[in-house]
C-alpha cells in the first residue's frame, strides 16, 4: 500500500485525503496551521457551473458537481450545509443579456442546464432583486456548501478510512533518494512517503519551491462582506454576468462584480473583488464601499441592512487560470493539486478523485492532460 503525504488541510487536501484513503492509500495529511485556515476558510463555498466557459475547467466542474451530490448523500450534506439552491445570473443591459444567452447556449450543449429568465420571471425567482435589470438565467446545477464544515467532514471520513491528520506541522523540505522524493522534512521530524501531494493552495508556490520543484501560484485577494443575520431574502446565488469576464481577466488592477448569497445561518455574503497585491491582508475601505454599493444596486433592500464584518482571502491562481493537478516531471513522487483560484471548493472532489486515480493508476474520470504541471514549467518568474 503506497504511503501518501498530503500537504495542506484545506478543501483540496481534504478531498485528496478522502478519495486517496478510500482507494486504499496510506494517507497522512500535514497542515502547518489548522484545518481550513487558509483560502478554504475565507470564501463563500460555491460549486458553480454557471460561470464556466467551455474548456477543461468546465469538465472538472461537471465531474465535481456529480461528486458533491454523491458526497451529500454519502456523508450527510446537511452536516456541511450542502444546498442545491441553483444560481441566478443577471444582466443589467439588453446587450449584456444577449451575451448571457449566447454564453448559456454554448454551455447547454456541453451539459450545463439553464433556463432564461425574463424580467417578471427574475422577480418571481428573487423578489428583492432590482426591477431595473434586463433579465437573467437560472442555473439549477449551482450548489453551495459551508467550506470549513465540508473540509472537516471530508477529513473525518478520510480518517474513518485510516488517514492520519496532523495539524501544526509545517513541511520544510524534501527527503530524496536516487532523485526521487521519499518523504518530507517537517517542523516535527521527517515523514516517509512514496508520493507527496502539494495541496497547499495559495502557498503552493512556496511549498513546491521548498520541495525543489516550484510551480507558479500567486495570490489574488478578495473581500467578503457579511451582513447581520436575516430571514431568507436571497434565495439563490445571485451574481452579475460581468463576473465571468472578471474571473477570466488578466488585469492587474481591481476588478469588482456583485455576487450575493444567503447562508444557512441567516447572514448574507457579498463579494467579489479581485486584486493582485501579494499577501497583503489590509482591508480596503474603498473596495468594501464599492462592493456594498454594487450589492445594493442588485438588491436595494440591502441599503437598510448592517454589515457585521468583512474578511479577506487569497485565491491561488496559475498564470493560465487553470489549476495544476498531476505528477511533476522534474521530481518523481511529487504531485501538485493547487491553483484553483476562486473555484477550489467546487472543484475539490474531482481534484481529489483525479489525484487518487493518478496515484493508483486507475482510469481517470476527466482528462488530466490540461491540468498537468508540464505546461507551467519554464513560466516561473
Amino acid at each position: 500500500m503506497a504511503r501518501v503525504v498530503i500537504v495542506g488541510a484545506g478543501i483540496v487536501g481534504a478531498a485528496c485525503a478522502f478519495y486517496g484513503a478510500r482507494a486504499g492509500l496510506e494517507v497522512t495529511v500535514l497542515e502547518r496551521g489548522a484545518v481550513a485556515a487558509g483560502t478554504t476558510g475565507a470564501g463563500e463555498g460555491n460549486l458553480l457551473l454557471s460561470d464556466k466557459e467551455a474548456g477543461p475547467e468546465l469538465q472538472l466542474a461537471l465531474r465535481s458537481s456529480l461528486l458533491w451530490n454523491e458526497l451529500g448523500d454519502e456523508l450527510g450534506g446537511a452536516g456541511f450545509e450542502l444546498e442545491r439552491k441553483g444560481g441566478v445570473v443577471v444582466a443589467s443591459s439588453p446587450e449584456g443579456l444577449t451575451a448571457l444567452r449566447r454564453f448559456a447556449a454554448v454551455q447547454r450543449a456541453l451539459g450545463v442546464d439553464s433556463e432564461p429568465l425574463d424580467q417578471s420571471q427574475l422577480h418571481e425567482a428573487e423578489p428583492h432583486l432590482s426591477r431595473a435589470l434586463a433579465g437573467g438565467a437560472f442555473y439549477p446545477g449551482d450548489l453551495q456548501v459551508q467550506p470549513m464544515l465540508a473540509a472537516a467532514t471530508l477529513l473525518a471520513a478520510a480518517r474513518r478510512h485510516g488517514a492520519l491528520v496532523r495539524t501544526g506541522v509545517e513541511v520544510t523540505g524534501a527527503v530524496l533518494a536516487d532523485g526521487r522524493l521519499t518523504g518530507v522534512r517537517t517542523s516535527a521530524g521527517t515523514a516517509p512517503a512514496d508520493y507527496v501531494v502539494n495541496a497547499s493552495g495559495t502557498w503552493g508556490g512556496q511549498v513546491s519551491a521548498a520541495l525543489g520543484a516550484e510551480v507558479p501560484i500567486l495570490p489574488r485577494r478578495g473581500f467578503i462582506l457579511v451582513t447581520e443575520p436575516l430571514p431568507r431574502i436571497v434565495r439563490h446565488k445571485v451574481y452579475s454576468a460581468d463576473y465571468v469576464a472578471n474571473v477570466a481577466s488578466d488585469s492587474e488592477g481591481l476588478e469588482l462584480s456583485p455576487v450575493v448569497e444567503g447562508t444557512r445561518s441567516g447572514t448574507v455574503l457579498i463579494g467579489a473583488s479581485r486584486e493582485r497585491v501579494g499577501f497583503d491582508r489590509t482591508i480596503s475601505i474603498p473596495v468594501v464601499r464599492q462592493l456594498a454599493a454594487q450589492a445594493i444596486a442588485l438588491f436595494p433592500v440591502l441599503a437598510r441592512i448592517n454589515l457585521m464584518r468583512v474578511y479577506a482571502g487569497f485565491r491561488p491562481y496559475c498564470p493560465d487560470h487553470l489549476p495544476v493537478i498531476g505528477a511533476d516531471p522534474r521530481l518523481p513522487g511529487l504531485l501538485h493539486a493547487c491553483g484553483h483560484e476562486g473555484a477550489g471548493i467546487g472543484l475539490a472532489p474531482a481534484t481529489g478523485e483525479l489525484i487518487a486515480h493518478l496515484i493508483t493508476g486507475q482510469p481517470t474520470s476527466v482528462d488530466p492532460k490540461p491540468f498537468a504541471p508540464e505546461r507551467l514549467i519554464g513560466q516561473l518568474t
Binding site: 447581520e228 436575516l230 430571514p231 431568507r232 431574502i233 434565495r235 441567516g266 433592500v301 448592517n306
Partner: protein, 89 residues
C-alpha cells in the same frame, strides 16, 4: 438623572453611559432571546464584537446596546427574531 424608555419601563442613566450599561445598572441582565434556541442574552463581550446584546432603538433593529450611548427620550425595545422578519421571501 435622565431616562429612556425600555419596553414598558423607564430606565435612568448617568451621562456617558451606554444603553447596555444603563440596563445592567437597572438590574436587567438579559434583553434579547436567540433566534433558534429562544435563550436569553445580554452583554457578553461588551465591546461591540459579539453581537449578543442587540436591541431595537427608535425602531432600528440590531443595535448593539454596549455601543449605543444612552440619550434622554430614546425608545429601546426588546428585539425578537432577526429584527427584519418582515423582509422574508
Amino acid at each position: 438623572m435622565t431616562s429612556f424608555g425600555f419596553d414598558d419601563s423607564e430606565i435612568d442613566f448617568a451621562d456617558g453611559q451606554t444603553v447596555g450599561a444603563a440596563l445592567i445598572d437597572a438590574g436587567i441582565y438579559g434583553w434579547r432571546v436567540t433566534r433558534r434556541g429562544g435563550t436569553r442574552r445580554g452583554l457578553f463581550c461588551g465591546i461591540g464584537v459579539c453581537y449578543d446584546c442587540l436591541v431595537t432603538v427608535d425602531g432600528a433593529p440590531n443595535q448593539r446596546a454596549c455601543l449605543i450611548p444612552a440619550r434622554a427620550g430614546m425608545t429601546v425595545t426588546t428585539q425578537t427574531g432577526t429584527g427584519h422578519d418582515d423582509l422574508a421571501c
